[in-house]
């Protein structure tokens, strides 16, 4: 899907509010895009770290576990602060990216991906780790004595056995990425038709007293999150049934 401009996301709107004859759907599109890309990145990162950390010695594991879970409990503004510290145009990495590749890392639509990835990562990481920990290690051992390669064991035995947990983690990470506000507003800001996401749009509309439209976005957000959490519950139920 190409983005010609945000005008292609206009739908007729017969609402009473004349200032918004058309409801601009760009925030929905942008939010879904950011959440989907973040979700894919977080999926692989989460699985990679869950798999790697599980094999580390206990002390290193404990420490790394805390660091990797930190974004779950830190205020998103703190995450945003750290992100700006790394990616800001006046900081070393941000400036280098700008001069070497002419790539801006802040105040563009994909900046929101950085924020979403960091915030959603712990959810994927922890769920995947839990699933891996409940994986029967004798299955891996027996597969090795049968001559199966480690990559075969991981992708064809361990992943299918942990399928439900990993799916649940992915859906949770997607939901969290979709709802990300604090760090996103700091690193991507709010530019209508450019960096606006559902959450930043709600705040902007509420701030400018456009309660009616803010309410619509709120309902859209609630609906998506509702569906997503339903999916998580269904998956967890299946997982329990599978384990029993």
């Amino acid at each position: 899907m190409s983005v010609a401009g945000h005008s292609s996301f206009l739908i007729p709107n017969s609402s009473f509010d004349n200032r918004y004859r058309f409801m601009d759907l760009y925030p929905l599109y942008n939010s879904l895009r950011v959440a989907a890309i973040s979700c894919v990145i977080v999926f692989f990162l989460g699985i990679f770290f869950a798999h790697t950390v599980a094999k580390l010695p206990r002390t290193v594991k404990g420490l790394l576990d805390v660091v990797l879970t930190l974004p779950l409990v830190l205020p998103p503004t703190v995450v945003g602060y750290f992100l700006l510290l790394a990616f800001g145009p006046n900081r070393a990495f941000g400036a280098w990216m700008q001069s070497a590749f002419h790539v801006r890392l802040t105040m563009v639509w994909y900046s929101a991906i950085f924020a979403s990835v960091v915030v959603a990562f712990p959810l994927m990481y922890r769920t995947a780790r839990g699933a891996f920990e409940s994986f029967d290690p004798t299955l891996r051992d027996s597969a090795r004595t049968l001559g199966l390669s480690n990559s075969y064991i991981f992708w064809r035995i361990q992943m299918p056995c942990c399928r439900q947990g990993i799916l649940a983690g992915t859906v949770l990470a997607f939901a969290r990425a979709l709802g990300e506000y604090g760090a996103t507003s700091m690193i991507a800001g709010y530019t209508p038709g450019r960096t606006a996401t559902i959450s930043t749009t709600v705040y902007q509309l509420w701030r400018t007293n456009n309660d009616a439209l803010a309410f619509r976005w709120v309902m859209i957000n609630v609906a998506i999150s509702f569906v997503v959490l339903m999916a998580v519950n269904l998956l967890e139920k299946q997982q329990r049934r599978g384990a029993a």
């Binding site: 051992d141 597969a143 090795r144 049968l146 001559g147 199966l148 056995c161 399928r163």
Partner: protein, 351 residues
């Protein structure tokens, strides 16, 4: 064709130290639960690394801490049957078998699998998942899967303990047949003296992580060397012993002097099996006058617990087992004379 194992591993709660050699045929590793039997098998299979030692299979070094050899499990050609069978739950029976052939160069995959299914009476179950199979069927799938990899040695970790007693006998017969036809050596880990007796030719007793030397199974049951080995063979009557002369000892706990076969060492314990005790009519050599403490009716035998001159608690009691029809009518408090035939008395070392 042989297996040489000399390994040590610190397991926190105890130190595993096992040494044994085994030729073709079934070799038993007998020990109480938690004594490191399964760990020994895992070390041989290569899924656990010992701290020190040497493992050699048919002249091929699998592990040697001195020279730094540590073959990955994939290259050891060792078939390990796990206690829970470790079938892949996400695959059907057929997929489980096919997975085992991935590491092989097989010209006729479908044919080999069909042969195995027939041999283990699994035909018709190809599309079933492990969770839909009975314990016996799961074990047959696991064995079929192992044999498809054409291992040089079979390692069986408590193969019968996950089955209920009804299935166990049937499965044991099938297992015996399979083991007879397997060309290489087999290690069978178990805590059951019956399984050792039925299935194994030689045996190593493991106690608190230390493995004694191997011996023929018959010898383990007729002349165990240590108290722990004797306990594992199911012996119930032990007394501390003091040597008086080469063929005479004092059984401290039983409060009696006994004549026995010549011993070339100072025995720490004397033991006798419950079914080797003989009721006697009169006092005499090796006869202990006991008092009946309790009579328990078992299915086909009567078990009599009796106090000895040494006391009526703990090791001082003797346990006598008689076929029901041979058991005289006994009441609690009756005197019963028990003869300990000298050739049945076992002299044991500490350990």
């Amino acid at each position: 064709m042989s297996l040489i194992v000399r390994i040590e591993k610190d397991l926190g709660s105890f130190h595993l130290r096992v040494r044994f050699e085994s030729e073709n045929g079934v070799h038993g590793l007998l020990g109480a639960s938690g004594c490191g039997k399964s760990m020994t098998l895992r070390c041989i299979a290569g899924v656990v690394t010992p701290d020190r030692g040497h493992i050699e299979l048919n002249g091929r070094v699998l592990f040697d801490s001195e020279t730094g050899v540590d073959l990955p499990p994939q290259q050891r050609r060792v078939g390990l049957l796990f206690q829970n069978y470790a079938l892949f739950p996400n695959m059907t029976v057929e997929q489980n078998l096919r997975a085992a052939l991935r590491g092989q160069k097989s010209a006729d995959e479908a044919g080999e699998i069909a042969d195995m299914l027939r041999r283990f009476e699994l035909t018709g179950l190809e599309r079933h998942r492990p969770s839909q199979l009975s314990g016996g069927q799961q074990q047959r799938v696991a064995l079929a899967r192992i044999l498809l990899t054409k291992p040089e040695i079979l390692l069986l970790d408590e193969p019968l303990s996950a089955l209920d007693s009804y299935l166990r006998w049937q499965t044991e017969l099938e297992l015996a047949e399979l083991l007879d036809s397997f060309p290489g050596p087999t290690l069978l880990v178990t805590h059951s003296r019956e399984e050792v007796h039925h299935l194994c030719r030689t045996v190593t007793v493991l106690d608190r992580g230390s493995g004694e030397v191997s011996m023929p199974v018959k010898k383990l049951f007729s002349a165990p060397k240590t108290r722990s080995a004797c306990l594992l063979t199911g012996c119930k009557n032990f007394s501390r012993a003091e040597r008086i002369s080469p063929n005479r000892i004092r059984a401290v706990d039983w409060g009696a002097e006994l004549s026995c076969a010549d011993a070339d060492f100072d025995p720490a314990y004397v033991a006798i099996r419950a079914h080797h005790l003989e009721p006697a009519d009169a006092d005499g050599e090796n006869v202990i006058a006991c008092r009946v403490l309790r009579v328990v009716d078992d299915a086909f035998s009567a078990i009599v617990m009796a106090s000895t001159p040494g006391g009526d608690a703990g090791a001082s009691r003797l346990r006598l087992e008689l076929p029901k029809e041979d058991c005289p009518p006994l009441k609690i408090g009756d005197t019963i004379r028990l003869r300990l035939p000298p050739d049945r008395i076992m002299l044991l070392k500490e350990g």
